[in-house]
Amino acid sequence: MNPARSNILSRIRAALRTETPRPLAPTDALIWPPVGNAEPRFRAEFTAVRGELLDSAQQLREFLKAFPKIATDGSALVRQVAGDGTATSREADIGITGCDCLVAQTGSIIVSTRASGGRALSVLPPVHLVIARRDQIVPDLAAAFTLLRQRYDGHWPSALSLVTGPSRTADIEKVLVMGAHGPKRLALYFAD
């Protein structure tokens, strides 16, 4: 172990002998208004960040026609709806995965190595399609963390992401461009 560790920790200990007064205490006021009915809220938020909702099996079929090379996470739900993908995530036009949950407050999808077939599948292909169930919707981020704790505490996946819409950048003159390095399109289909 390098001496830096004990040097830094002892400097920290010495510095913290004096505690600073606490900042202005939070009140009981809610930070955000209550989410209300989670599903319509999720749909509205998801669409607002340019997520695409596929509302029927027919729409799903039409959507998939444009993407000949498919990579999937091999999960039961995805297989049931879209079959088995034959492409790797590197070659695929589309990656189809499941997810851990959906967050209504922000219109987000939580993916993880365990629920979504690893790290790259949900980010490398230019299009990401998520197959989910309506009962995976939780109201807000706090509820999402509660769910994740219950599911994974003590044996976490090595990576999780809160995905909110397709990738984007506004680095060039603050003009919003969809599709930076991550997927250019993010779509969602409810299997139930």
Binding site: P33, L121, L141, P157, S158, T164, T169, V177
Partner: protein, 485 residues
């Protein structure tokens, strides 16, 4: 005056006198302001969000050792390694040596101010290791050979035309390319790099102590690709980035996005808790976290200014600062710019060399008003100024001038006499050479013949109540403010 101060004045003066530069910043920040104002409407209590965020960071920083050790234990348990670096040099050496030992030829980097702070790219270059910035703005800065202009928006100073010209030169894209097309070119270029890189180096927005996870926020997805494709992932982060619990992110993620860009949350908020696990199909086989001190424990020991370590690097204070908006990021000449940069740089680097930044402020307080974690930013600029004087970094002429001024202010008679002389000097033109810093770009009013106390003594004391325009008092409406030289 220190070399850095001289350089700052040169650069700031050039930028401040450039209306084109100012217009670009103003335009970009106006877009930001609109987005932030809209984002605020989502909040029932933004003030309470700030208070909660401030509490989380206060708790983290004031129990820093505890949480860092907890974080380390969890990372190691997950199969990662933690390296503690006291200096920038230590951090650089560890990362470059690791790369060399593992036969790394190409590195992808996801936006990290700390990696700028330790000058990592230069170290890679010296070791003949190719290091490519993947955030679009930072990629462009790298192509131009410039440091980032802003801690969140690296090319705030460039127009689309500038970027098109650059890409035309480097990649042959047409000069008329749109922002979308340019982003597309960058995507193609960088995709090849992502797929062939051996190592991904990222920063961290937060280090989560209880689960040993590193939290990384990007809109572009370059963070996710950097931690998914290369076989080694190295995180380099300041020790102050640690937060106690995963659940804290339920507030910190939205708050960071709100003041960073006006979004509800950043497009990708990723949590990485180690190398790939057994049974996982991809991901790096090695995971290293470099915890950097580099002067942060000095700032920690400064009880008055310790809360400067609460900073979540959102950039809000830069966007609010009227000085920043006129001089831009490069003029500061150091990694951390704007108000928070001016506060912390004398602590992280040489105090004498960098105190001038604390004086380059009108103390308007806009920064303190927007800070999402309630850092008392403009107040700390005052603390730095006091510290500079106490440590005798101040100009001896200035010290003398203030001693003389103080002597005059301690007694009403001295004050009266000194003021009368000053006014006389100004009315007669004798004071003109001393007034150059003002008069080079502004007119100076001619001081009046009588002061207020003169008027009060002669007539004001017994002046009839409520009668306006008693001799020498309020002048008629519409009269010019003052005569000017």
């Amino acid at each position: 005056m220190t070399a850095s101060a001289r350089q700052f004045i040169r650069a700031a003066t050039a930028k401040a006198a450039n209306p084109g530069h100012r217009a670009i910043l103003e335009n970009n920040i106006a877009t930001y302001d609109t987005a932030v104002a809209l984002g605020k409407t989502r909040y029932a209590s933004w003030e309470n969000a700030r208070s909660v965020a401030a509490q989380i960071k206060w708790n983290a920083v004031n129990h820093l050792g505890l949480y860092l050790e907890q974080f380390e234990r969890a990372v190691v348990k997950n199969g990662g390694r933690v390296f503690w670096a006291e200096t920038a040099e230590d951090a650089r050496c560890y990362i470059v040596e690791l790369a060399q030992q593992r036969g790394v030829h190409k590195v992808v980097k996801s936006k990290s101010m700390v990696s700028e702070e330790i000058d990592l790219n230069a170290a890679f270059a010296a070791a003949s290791i190719e290091s490519v910035e993947t955030d679009l703005g930072e990629f462009i800065c790298q192509l131009r050979g410039e440091p980032p202009y802003h801690i969140v928006t690296p090319i705030m100073h460039l127009t689309k035309t500038d970027v098109a010209a650059l890409f035309h030169e480097k990649f042959g894209t047409p000069l008329t390319a749109t922002a979308k097309e340019l982003a597309g070119v960058a995507r193609e270029q960088l995709r090849r790099v992502f797929l062939s890189a051996d190592m991904g180096v990222t920063g961290a927005n937060f280090l989560v102590a209880d689960t040993g996870m590193v939290a990384l926020s990007t809109n572009e997805g370059n963070g996710r690709l950097s931690v998914s494709l290369p076989r080694i992932h190295v995180v380099v982060a300041g020790i102050e980035k640690v937060i106690p619990r995963l659940e804290d992110l339920a507030v910190l993620w939205p708050v960071l996005a709100q003041v960073g860009t006006g979004q509800t949350v950043t497009s990708y908020n990723t949590l990485v808790g180690g190398p790939r696990r057994d049974g996982e199909t991809d991901g790096p086989v090695e995971f290293h976290v470099v915890l950097l001190d580099n002067g942060r424990t000095r700032l920690l020991a400064d009880v008055e200014q310790r809360d400067a370590l609460h900073c979540i690097r959102c950039g809000a204070c830069l966007n609010a600062c009227p000085v920043y908006k006129n001089i831009g990021g490069h003029a500061y000449g150091t990694t951390y710019q704007g108000p928070i940069g001016s506060v912390i740089t004398p602590h992280l680097r040489d105090a004498c060399e960098w105190s001038h930044l604390s004086y380059a402020s009108s103390l308007c307080g806009a920064c303190t008003g927007v800070c999402p974690v309630r850092i008392d930013i403009h107040h700390h600029l005052l603390h730095n100024r006091r510290n500079a004087v106490q440590r005798r970094f101040d100009n001896p002429f200035q010290r003398l001038a203030f001693k003389a001024w103080f002597w005059a202010m301690q007694d009403a008679t001295r004050y009266r006499v000194a003021s009368k002389l000053a006014r006389l000097a100004m009315r007669s033109g004798l004071a003109l050479p001393f007034l150059k810093p003002w008069t080079q770009c502004r007119d100076l009013p001619v001081p009046p013949a009588r002061s207020f106390r003169d008027w009060w003594r002669r007539e004001g004391r017994d002046g009839p109540p409520g009668r306006p325009n008693s001799s020498g008092a309020a002048r008629p409406a519409g009269a010019p403010y003052q005569q000017h030289k």
